[in-house]
């Protein structure tokens, strides 16, 4: 048994490819917990950052700087009465949130946090991610219909129309990135998530910069389509609160509603990780081929620890700035304690054995985190689109652009071959 567990550690494969059930299970549990923590953190960050963008303070009451607010929210949601409308279709109403959460979490078994840090590596990685994440549209439609109410039904209709239209533009962008894995080099392309990042490493270029500006345009199409795909502002028509109260989850409350919340945020993380894998070099650190050598390696290895130490420093700075009132004593101590914990994590990340294993995960998470910040930024910046404008952007701008990029990428990629044939004639 112990040998079985240890045998994986020496292999250079993902647990799924090595066929090791134990480590696959460990990875699944770690990813599940990590995602839940990320969603909680994202909840706090979104409220805080949005508030600061609008010159407000945001949550300040529960815990220092509202740090415990998501936990308080979660407890409130779990204790809330779970209401089901009398005329609702019971079974479908009950299934919908579970379906959405399943679709949102299943996607993560192919997300490559590092060359070996994925549950498994599928030959059809990107296809699998796109397919399973498109299933969440079904869950939303089920929720909207089963509520047997007008606002949710309209929200569900909007959502399904929006997702089906933007999926096409998204697919075009993804195909042009997948084509880049095979062009201008030996062998064939690949759909596997790990293979795509390895292709970027082998070609020495992130696909966002390849065939400039074609990679950039494809990335832009994906970046717009993915916001629409996750029903986030400025494309959040399915839950437009000024028109449809809360859209497809109007009738949901308590735990079921929190499942929708969880699914929305993990879907955001999922599409961001597709974008990171396809265009931004996945787990690769900046300039992996240019800045090589022991010195640069050490320099980039130190980043994870420094990030955590920086966060700890922020905590201590805020601790000093806390009001010196007896009522704030517990909060001040709590904040200092949080800073100490973050600092300790930072110090642990400086240990050579740890930092070498963690750096892939760190760079991947940082890139995804940048996308998460962009999501919040969009929400704070752009007004909501009207539905006809949304359809116009999807069908009349993004789709033709995607088709054009696809053809041009194929043409530019095949150009050396074409040239050769003409010259040899």
């Amino acid at each position: 048994m112990l040998d079985y567990i240890k045998s994986y550690l020496t292999s250079n494969l993902t647990p799924g490819s090595a066929g090791n059930m134990f480590w696959a299970f460990v990875y699944i549990v770690v990813i599940f917990l990590g995602l839940s923590v990320a969603v909680i953190a994202m909840n706090w960050l979104e409220r805080k950052i949005l508030a600061h963008m609008q010159v407000r303070l945001g949550p300040m009451r529960v815990g220092p700087h509202g740090l415990l607010q998501p936990i308080a929210d979660a407890i409130k949601l779990l204790l809330k009465e779970d209401i089901m409308p009398a005329e609702a279709d019971g079974f479908v109403f009950w299934m919908a949130p579970i379906f959405v959460v399943l679709a949102a979490f299943t996607v993560f078994i192919v997300v490559p946090f590092g060359p070996t840090h994925a549950v498994t590596d599928m030959n059809i990685g990107v296809l699998f991610m796109l397919g399973v994440s498109s299933l969440s549209a079904l869950g939303i439609v089920m929720a909207g219909w089963a509520s047997n109410s007008h606002y949710p039904l309209i929200g569900a209709l909007r959502s399904s129309a929006q997702m089906v239209s933007y999926e096409i533009a998204m697919g075009m962008a993804v195909i042009s990135a997948v084509m880049m894995t095979s062009l201008n080099q030996q062998g064939t392309g690949t759909l596997s998530m790990i293979g795509i990042v390895q292709a970027q490493q082998a070609q020495g270029i992130w696909f966002i910069f390849k065939f400039f500006p074609l990679g950039l345009i494809a990335f832009f199409i994906f970046a717009v389509a993915m916001v629409a795909e996750t029903n986030r502002a400025p494309f959040d028509l399915p839950e437009a609160e000024s028109e449809l109260t809360a859209g497809f989850h109007t009738e949901y409350s308590g735990f079921r509603w929190s499942l929708f919340f969880l699914a929305e945020y993990s879907a955001m993380i999922a599409v961001s990780s597709i974008a990171v894998t396809l265009w931004l070099g996945g787990w690769l650190r900046p300039f992996p081929n240019l800045l090589t050598g022991a010195k640069w390696d050490l320099f980039f290895f130190l980043f994870p620890g420094i990030t955590f130490l920086f966060l700890a420093g922020m905590c201590f700075y805020s601790t000093v700035r806390m009001p010196k009132h007896p009522l704030f004593r517990i909060q001040t101590i709590g904040l200092a304690g949080f800073g100490v914990v973050l600092g300790l994590i930072g110090l642990i990340l400086f240990i050579p054995a740890v930092r070498e294993r963690v750096q892939d995960i760190y760079w991947f998470s940082m890139k995804v985190a940048a996308f998460m910040y962009l999501y919040i930024w969009y929400r704070g910046t752009f007004p909501r689109y009207r539905f006809d404008q949304l359809m116009k952007v999807g069908w009349k701008i993004l789709l033709p652009m995607g088709l054009g990029v696809l053809i041009l990428t194929a043409g530019v990629g095949l150009w050396p071959l074409i040239q050769q044939t003409i010259w040899n004639r």
Binding site: I124, L130, G131, L138, W145
Partner: protein, 177 residues
């Protein structure tokens, strides 16, 4: 790529999974025609399609499975539900669910069942002697090479057909073009 040929995995294509998925497909298929509520029927159809995708995976055809999930479960069924949701449930539930053509149905079912039994008992020569080597890692590439090489003509014909269908849909939906 992680799937190197030296790494022999335990096959996932065990009889247990086959019977589980096959059972799911059958239950889903029966529910599609027996449920009175059209939305329930559509949801049962989704279960069938997903189980079918898993069976493709078991047959070492991951590309077909992925396409099945994207196109049928993620695309077509969403459009199906989109339309069905707008239909009044009360009216559709009053409608007759089965037509009374038992004789024709029986004949068709017997013919199909007879064909299956004939293939199962006598058709040993049709199938290869033993299972083909599972080239899971090359599946997508192989499908691509076949589609754009050997079956190029059929592929282009199919795409032309789809184009005609798209144009037809636009012509029928728009009053003034």
């Amino acid at each position: 790529m992680a799937a190197d040929p030296t790494n022999h995995m335990e096959p996932v294509a065990t009889p247990f999974f086959f019977y589980l998925l096959g059972g799911l497909m059958l239950i889903g298929g029966v529910l599609v025609i027996t449920r009175k509520n059209p939305v329930h029927s559509a949801l049962a159809l989704i279960v069938t399609l997903l189980a079918q995708a898993s069976i493709y995976l078991m047959l070492y055809a991951p590309f077909v499975a992925g396409v099945q999930i994207i196109l049928y479960a993620g695309g077509i069924m969403v459009l199906f539900l989109f339309v069905i949701m707008l239909v009044s449930i009360e009216r559709s539930q009053r409608e007759r669910q089965f037509n009374k053509q038992w004789v024709v149905g029986m004949v068709a079912a017997t013919a199909l069942g007879g064909l299956f039994i004939a293939v199962y008992t006598k058709g040993r020569g049709i199938f290869p002697e033993h299972a083909l080597p599972a080239v899971e890692a090359q599946n997508t590439q192989n499908v691509g090479t076949l589609l754009y090489g050997q079956y190029m003509f059929a592929f282009e014909i199919a795409s032309l057909l789809l184009l005609v269908a798209i144009i037809g849909a636009v012509v029928m939906a728009k009053k003034r073009i």
